[in-house]
């Protein structure tokens, strides 16, 4: 039980680091890292639950999350590169200026 709580607390801290990154950083690459951290915190918690309590469905959800993360990574890099082409920067806040200019 203690081991599960250690995993749970580590997952929560990882989730908090990711959440901080998503809310405070303003360039696409670090936001992308932070999103992956959020997903990995959830996967860590699910894997730990599966190991300690025998919850097999948890692992299946973890695989689905990895599939979603792959799609998200592909879409994220696409947006990241196209934004860089259009604005010359990788800061999402500056996309508003492009809309205003148009």
């Amino acid at each position: 039980m203690t081991e599960f709580y250690i995993d749970a607390i580590a997952a929560l801290i990882l989730f908090a680091v990711g959440l901080y990154g998503v809310t405070s950083k303003s360039d696409f690459l670090k936001i992308f890292f932070s999103l992956e951290m959020l997903l990995n915190a959830v996967i860590l918690l699910l894997a730990s639950g599966a190991y300690h309590f025998g919850l097999t469905r948890d692992l299946a959800i973890a695989y689905v999350i990895i599939v979603i993360a792959t799609f998200e990574a592909a879409a994220g890099v696409l947006i990241f590169i196209l934004t860089n082409r259009i604005t010359g920067e990788i800061i999402p806040d500056h996309l508003d200026k492009v809309v205003e200019d148009e």
Binding site: M1, Y5, V17, S24, S26, A50, F71, A74, A75, I86
Partner: protein
């Protein structure tokens, strides 16, 4: 051992966000994902650990490196939003209280690889297809959005 790996994971996660140069940030991110994969293997979830290493350390990091080649070696300057710290503190405290309030009973049961694959194919393979359709829609929407940003409304 597990505490050491998890501590390293958190330190590397913070490092990847705190770096001002892109390549060390990506290296910290790779190491974090690799250590998580190793940890899953230690937890006896070999398939999940290998998935983690192949998908994250292999695939996603290559995509990220492709992005790094676009932006160069340094992150751009930005201003930190102060309310982010407040939000994270509130959410973290809230989330840390919840697991201790829920009573759980230990079962201690090892799951074989065949069982894992069977549960996935029986229950969640259709969801994977559905999520693929959703992801394709998001991808199409993103392309349309960027097209609109570039050329304006048609």
């Amino acid at each position: 051992m597990s505490v050491l790996i998890l501590a390293m994971v958190i330190i590397l996660a913070v490092m990847s966000l705190a770096q001002t140069k892109t390549v060390p940030a990506v290296l910290a991110f790779i190491s974090m994902m690799f250590l998580l994969g190793i940890y899953y293997i230690l937890l006896d979830e070999k398939l999940l650990g290998l998935f983690q290493i192949f998908v994250y350390t292999g695939g996603i990091v290559v995509l990220t490196l492709f992005g790094v080649t676009v932006i160069g070696s340094k992150f751009p300057e930005f201003k930190i939003r102060p309310w982010a710290v407040a939000i994270v503190t509130v959410v973290l405290i809230g989330l840390m209280i919840v697991p201790f309030l829920i009573p759980v009973e230990a079962v201690h049961q090892t799951i074989s690889l065949q069982q894992q694959v069977k549960v996935f194919t029986d229950n969640y393979s259709l969801i994977a297809v559905f999520m693929g359709v959703v992801a394709a829609s998001v991808l199409y929407g993103s392309i349309r959005m960027l097209h609109t940003l570039k050329y304006g409304k048609e």
